[in-house]
């Protein structure tokens, strides 16, 4: 269980009802997303998660600037002072 700082960018800010930054306690990303569904409700769930509760293809999550797909995806552990970014997957290239 860690107390982490989460920052939202772009359209994600609408999914949180305007919140750009929050501090949350969670043991892993899965639990973190559960917390957000509780606090931000359906709007967050519909925009960010698919039917299985995983991030949709156009949403990227980073822990300490590393894409969670290169870590343990939803099971990526969180510890105190970790920094989490949730943002739209942008094209580039």
């Amino acid at each position: 269980m860690g107390k982490v700082k989460v920052r939202f960018f772009g359209g994600l800010i609408e999914a949180t009802g305007g919140k750009k930054e929050v501090e949350v306690s969670a043991s892993d990303i899965s639990e973190l997303l559960d917390e957000f569904v509780k606090s931000f409700g359906e709007s967050f769930k519909k925009r960010v998660l698919d039917d299985d509760g995983a991030p949709r293809p156009f949403v990227n999550i980073y822990v300490n600037n590393k894409d969670i797909r290169f870590l343990d995806s939803l099971k990526t552990k969180l510890k105190d002072k970790d920094s989490v970014i949730i943002m739209p997957a942008v094209g580039g290239g």
Partner: protein, 406 residues
């Protein structure tokens, strides 16, 4: 005047007016420019007296006022019938679309010219981009011409020749330690925090439109016929999707009709997330954390348009294939030796894939095949020189010459 009707989300279909917007607000899907095709009246003769640049297709480009165009004479590059290379590979109708002779020596002048022109139209006071080098040079050159400040995010590992080129155009280079995807993430965060127009992120729907002019030119240069196969380098996948859209739009406005065009995507083995998904029949593209290939221009580990490349290639019955660095170097040399065209690794992946598809019988002897050669070999001398030549100097005497010739 512009024939743009709206921007439409490729995923959920939500439509937006043609404003500056990166993604669908509802689902974060990519947005495509939609034109009012009923109002566009062009025929094959419409092009007789038009400029030999991308702007000859202005009805299908998203710029409202011609005075905003930043024109470096981009486009209408040669479509070269490669008899020697074709003979060497065993086919009769092989063409190279030689985009290495664009103003900044890659196809990226096409999207950059549209994007910087659109930035002028939006009244932006600066432009920026994230790039493995070619786009950065293209945006920097156009920004210079338009007298706009330019910022470019690049992975710090890009070729020194590209850095020299970008810096010469006067851009501020922000070299990011890490991969393209690291630079891309930082650029996106900068666009959110500072309001910068990162042209391939913030105004991506318009930016992508420039690349489809490759499809228009290929058909026009084949006397408005459609090729059977087009082989395209794939990094983010935006180019392949744009070319596919270009072919579809030509049909919509009545300039071409005919057989299916098979679109093939070429990646480098050291960074081939889309080719891997294609090969195993997956619908998801798993990113590559540490790309490793001499084809740095196409070393994008997390391709934004990966899903759509799979969709377009499967729809057209093409393939996405990956070639090794060795095949890349061999293809650079083969193209140079047989046709006098010197390309960078990212351009030669198409020749290497063509060779394989011919050997596998997927391309037949009489098919019309176009390989998109997207960048110039002089941009990547460092990457290939160790493979391509070695020499030792001789004394300036006839004896030394004679013995060196063996």
């Amino acid at each position: 005047m512009s024939f743009v009707k709206s921007l439409k989300c490729r995923e959920c279909g939500t439509e937006y007016p043609p404003i500056k917007i990166a993604l669908c607000k509802k689902c974060f899907g990519p947005l495509d420019v939609v034109y009012d095709y009923d109002k566009i009246h062009i025929s094959k003769t419409s092009f007789d007296n038009r400029p030999r640049t991308i702007w000859r297709y202005s009805e299908l480009l998203p710029i409202s006022d011609k005075k905003n165009i930043v024109d470096l004479n981009t486009g209408f590059t040669p479509l070269i019938k490669c008899v020697n290379l074709g003979k060497s590979l065993g086919i009769r109708n092989l063409y190279v679309k030689n985009d290495s002779v664009n103003p900044t020596f890659s196809f990226k002048d096409r999207p950059a010219e549209v994007a910087v022109s659109k930035a002028i139209e939006f009244g932006d006071s600066a432009v920026a981009c994230v790039s493995t080098g070619n786009l950065a040079a293209a945006v920097a050159a156009h920004a210079g011409k338009a007298n706009l400040p330019c910022y470019v995010f690049t992975p710090s590992s890009i070729e020194s020749s590209k850095i020299a080129q970008i810096a010469s155009y006067g851009a501020k280079i922000i070299p990011v330690r890490g991969t393209y995807d690291d630079a891309n993430r930082l650029a996106y965060l900068a666009s959110e925090l500072y309001g910068w127009n990162i042209v391939n992120i913030t105004s991506r729907p318009y930016y992508c439109e420039g690349s489809k002019t490759l499809a228009f030119e290929i058909c026009e240069q084949l006397d408005w016929n459609r090729p059977d196969h087009v082989i395209i380098p794939v990094a983010s996948g935006a180019l392949l999707c744009a070319i596919s859209r270009g072919f579809q739009q030509l049909e919509k406005v009545g300039l071409t009709k005919g057989e299916k065009i098979r679109l093939h995507g070429a990646q480098a083995e050291g960074c081939a997330p889309i080719a891997k998904a294609f090969t195993i029949g997956a619908d998801k593209v798993l990113p590559v954390e540490h790309p490793k290939t001499i084809a740095k221009s196409i070393a994008i580990g997390d391709p934004g348009d990966g899903l759509y490349v799979l969709r377009e290639v499967r729809r057209s019955e093409g393939v996405v294939g990956a070639v090794s660095d060795l095949e890349i170097v061999e293809s650079i040399k083969l193209l140079a030796k047989t046709e006098g065209i010197f390309t960078e690794p990212a351009g030669s992946v198409t020749i290497a894939l063509a060779k394989r598809l011919i050997e596998e019988g997927r391309i037949r002897r009489d098919d019309i095949v176009v390989c998109c050669v997207t960048g110039n070999g002089l941009k990547t001398i460092d990457a290939v020189s160790e493979y391509t030549f070695a020499f030792s100097e001789i004394e300036p005497t006839l004896e030394a010459l004679s013995s060196s010739l063996g």
